[in-house]
Amino acid sequence: MAARVLMQCVRSLARPSLRLCSANLTVRAAAVSSTAPHRSLSFAGDSARTRWLDQTRISSLSVSCRQYGDLPPLTLGGIQERVMYVLKLYDKINPEKLQVSSHFMKDLGLDSLDQVEIIMAMEDEFGFEIPDAEAEKLMSPDEIVQYIADKKDVYE
């Protein structure tokens, strides 16, 4: 009889919307099965759990993708957008004159100190360090995009 109650509990847990993450449900199922005594009940709990885990696994096919705590993948267009956005926010750059191919020193009239600041802003934006030797060669937004795509293995 206790097994029947357990089955009902598990079924009622399995009914709520698919938006609940499965981790939440497994925690609850673990709590439910731990309160019941071992052997036969835990066996019943396991089979019930695997049954609705299968259900959630099948239903998870309707979810488009699963991100296990990682950022969405970078694309060339996305990188370029972010680079141009960061550059537009920089106070020494005139946003109207800014093009993807504009040279920092020749077209935009910046100097090497400004270029250091720009590269540091890019490091902040993309979350990885750019070594000095390679940083001083990046003289236009296009080169920055190419470098980041190269480092982050983005091909298109």
Binding site: D111, S112, L113, V116, E117, M120, D132, A135, E136
Partner: protein, 89 residues
């Protein structure tokens, strides 16, 4: 008789100047990285503006000894900042 003419453009730096320039830029980068660790946002902005002004003001200096003095000064400032940050943590 053919004389060997230097193919470098007239504005090119000598090796020493080039190395000094690299040192200054590396110093500026380290300064900015250290300043980023300052906890207070207003302090950070103040320090960043101060560093920017200092470096820009002396941008046109040409005397290598003066430049070396300024590099040493900046290094001292940087070390001071780093020790204060380490103590404050």
């Amino acid at each position: 008789m053919n004389m060997v003419v230097s193919r470098l453009p007239p504005a090119a730096l000598s090796l020493k100047q080039f190395l000094q320039r690299q040192r200054v830029l590396g110093l500026y980068r380290n300064m900015l990285r250290t300043i980023k660790q300052v906890p207070d946002a207003a302090d950070q902005k103040y320090l960043r503006d101060w560093a920017r002004d200092e470096f820009k003001r002396n941008k046109t200096a040409t005397n290598p000894d003066a430049i070396r003095m300024m590099i040493t000064q900046a290094n001292n400032h940087l070390e001071e900042l780093q020790t204060s940050l380490a103590l404050a943590r």
